[in-house]
Symmetry: C2
Subunit: 328 residues, 2 copies
């Protein structure tokens, strides 16, 4: 879990409980890849989504009584297990060799087992939700997975065309990232019986945080290196994905022709990606993308400021600032 | 749906309703592979599992009133969608090019989209269950998917070792096939409020039918040809799976050495598989496997005979006989 949460000790403690529930659930004799999956979650995962479930529940005065706390912790675990399932399947799709600094599951155990591991985790997540959450939450969760898959299928069908519009890009990241942030805050609030108005505001804040988070992630992929990001640079590009910085760069008429020629080369390896990213960097596209991220963060900040003042609101505000300013 | 159900017209009509619900659910604008997935289900799928949901519900006097009927039909659809998700992921694992006489999804749209399509179908199935079934059924369903994945991971880790014991084989097919037959009968009965004793008997019958069904499937893979089976012969062998006929053949001391030499060759292509199957056929292993299947069918028959007499029982008996005697 790293020291990501050291500013928020009460949250850190709750997250440790969630982590224990996750490890306990993976340690099922029927699931042969428990150790490797646990390693994936425990080593370097920020537990952002479960933290959001916990923070949202914190807007209820009863959230930290033992019964609600236990329920919320299990739902938070389910959300992280679900997220891990999508990461494992994602790494197969993206042919990514490394995840959080360790070899990805399919690299170590083959595609077949990674598919099955993801499926197993999906099911365990649904089972935890069925066990601990309201039927309504189960439905919302299932719909979320559908929206992720749809977004990913759309993304895959458009790979290497490098013709994504800003609108399409935003729709895709809404489905694949913002939806889960929004869902995490929504479910945490709804399950702790937070008022509908506050729940709705949290859902909107989650969406905005998620959008900002994904745009920043895509920016970092254009500038980071293996050491800081724990994943290779220019990864999106090599996979044929057209993210916001590239979309802005392609909109720059003085660079478009040069970029299109560079993008037409196959395969796009390290060297080619390096050239493309240099051009993207040179034309101010990263700053434009940062501005776009900032717009979502500003909206998120406004939603958060309008929430009832409490420890959970402070925690959420702290997290949002951290996500806006992160450089790795 | 073929004419598999022509002996049981009332069931055939209900299954047409289920098929319509499935097609309707797949026709979601968010799911880009609707047509291809529908084709997979409508063309040649026997709808065995949804039929079991329907038959089991038929043991309740209120099963065919409009509200229960609607609920049961949606749960039956969820079970078939779930089964289809596992088939799509299975075909990736098995590198199978053909499914039900048409190209498999990953052959047509690539592994990435086939993984996502399976995930989407899993979620839609869970959503339907969350919408129409009791929380308990959702839990049972999630646990079932876990058991399938575990069984498949175990199976995959043992591939090409050809050292599976009969016990391990039975455990694997229990997880990957019998569990869903059992679940289908259990959920159909439980959701239609059939008495606990009858529900339990149905669950046991489902297990026995499923075991017999899978053993027969594995026997047919040792003898069928492309025309009748709609899938290539010796497929299991080429994938490195050790099924019951091969296990029996390996237990035959006069054949074991010859077989082990044949099994050591790599890759196992059509010609090599042909030689192995000839040896398996020659030593009576298929007949032994048929006897094993018959034992499960006999047990299933006994359970069915002990059920309260009604149309549903006759339908279930008819189906069981069909499954025992099928040759394709």
């Amino acid at each position: 879990m790293t020291d990501f949460w050291k500013d928020t000790p009460s949250l850190e403690k709750l997250l440790a409980e969630v982590e224990a529930i996750i490890v306990d659930n993976l340690n099922d004799p029927g699931y042969p890849l428990a150790d490797q999956t646990s390693a994936l979650i425990v080593s370097g995962g920020k537990m952002l989504r479960p933290a959001m479930v916990l923070m949202a529940s914190g807007f209820s005065p009863t959230a930290r009584n033992s019964q609600t706390r236990r329920k919320i912790a299990h739902i938070a675990a389910a959300i992280e297990i679900l997220h891990t399932a999508t990461l494992i399947h994602d790494d197969i799709l993206d042919e990514a060799d490394v995840r959080r600094g360790i070899p990805s599951l399919h690299t170590k155990f083959g595609t077949a087992n990674a598919i099955l591991a993801g499926d197993w985790l999906f099911s365990r997540s649904f089972r935890l939700v069925a066990d601990y959450a309201q039927q309504k939450s189960a439905r919302v969760l299932a719909r979320f997975v559908e929206s992720v898959c749809s977004a990913e299928i759309r993304q895959d069908l458009g790979k290497f065309s490098f013709s994504t519009t800003r609108r399409e890009y935003l729709r895709t990241i809404a489905g694949k990232t913002a939806a889960l942030f929004s869902l995490a805050l929504h479910v945490g609030a709804a399950e702790a019986k937070v008022s509908p108005i506050v729940t709705q505001r949290l859902r909107r804040a989650g969406y905005d945080i998620g959008m900002a988070f994904q745009i920043i992630d895509d920016i970092l992929d254009c500038e980071s290196d293996d050491l800081t990001m724990k994943k290779p640079t220019g990864n999106d590009l090599k996979e044929g994905l057209c993210t916001l910085p590239l979309i802005y760069a392609l909109e720059d008429k003085s660079k478009a022709d040069e970029l299109k020629t560079l993008l037409a080369a196959r395969p796009i390896g390290d060297e080619q990606a390096g050239k493309i990213l240099k051009t993207v960097n040179a034309c101010g596209a990263l700053e434009k993308a940062r501005t776009a991220a900032r717009q979502f963060t500003t909206r998120a900040r406004k939603e958060i400021a309008a929430l009832p003042p409490c420890l959970a609101r402070d925690e959420l505000a702290t997290l949002t600032e951290k996500l806006l300013t992160r450089t790795y």
